[in-house]
């Protein structure tokens, strides 16, 4: 496969895991990175159409919903998060 040089910045932990897995498999690090990316991207956006992906996502979300205890007000949750962010921003000293 023809290749081009590109730069992808990874955090040290991710790089370390990738490097050690490439060593274990005895393959070049960039080849392993490409293989893993292609596999993962095919899972999330490849052959599956949007309705199928949506159905899978909704089933997974439903399973999470069933594990939440007590009533949840999603609007309040999001609003409080936004208000907290706003308060934190207001506390930042101006330069």
């Amino acid at each position: 496969m023809a290749t081009d040089d590109h730069t992808v910045r990874l955090d040290p932990d991710t790089y370390s895991v990738l490097e050690s897995e490439a060593g274990r498999r005895n393959v070049p690090l960039d080849a392993l990175a490409g293989e893993l990316l292609r596999e993962r991207l095919a899972e999330t956006s490849g052959e599956e159409g949007t309705p199928e992906r949506m159905r899978a996502a909704l089933a997974a979300l439903s399973a999470i919903r069933a594990q939440v205890k007590g009533p949840v007000d999603a609007i309040r949750l999001v609003r409080e998060g936004r208000e907290e962010l706003e308060r934190r921003s207001l506390r930042w000293p101006s330069s």
Partner: protein, 135 residues
């Protein structure tokens, strides 16, 4: 048609037993008819904040977090970074935005006001409303 979804819808899908199923049905319908879902890149941060609050309140077990986060990430929503802030502000003002919060009166409200810098002539903003009968 493109729909811009608010974080409250995604949070409700993941956590709200009362409204989640109704929203799931709408999301399913949108996917079936080819509606594209879009959201500001801020949405995952808002979802993370909501999950944090639920775990802190003891309503969601911390062990469920990876599964919950993965489920949210699986939803076919296109996220958009704000690349043209000035354009977004001008557009919001032109559409009549005057305050950061506006009264919400319907259960799944459709609005022509964009909630992010992403908007097209054929897009609608969808959010869960405080008047939702199941909220």
């Amino acid at each position: 048609m493109a729909l811009v979804v608010d974080a409250s819808l995604v949070v409700a899908l993941a956590t709200d037993a009362a409204c989640g199923q109704m929203i799931a049905e709408r999301f399913g319908e949108w996917a079936e008819v080819g509606e594209e879902l879009h959201a500001p890149a801020l949405l995952p941060y808002e979802a993370a904040s909501a999950l944090t609050r639920l775990i802190a309140a003891g309503q969601l077990a911390g062990e469920v977090l990876p599964e919950a986060w993965a489920a949210i990430g699986r939803a076919p929503i296109s996220y958009h970074a704000l690349s043209d802030g000035a354009g977004a502000v001008e557009l919001a003002l032109r559409l009549g935005a005057t305050a950061p919060t506006t009264p919400r009166t319907s259960s799944l409200r459709s609005s022509s006001t964009p909630s992010s810098g992403h908007s097209t002539a054929r897009s609608r903003a969808m959010r869960l409303s405080a008047g939702c009968p199941c909220a």
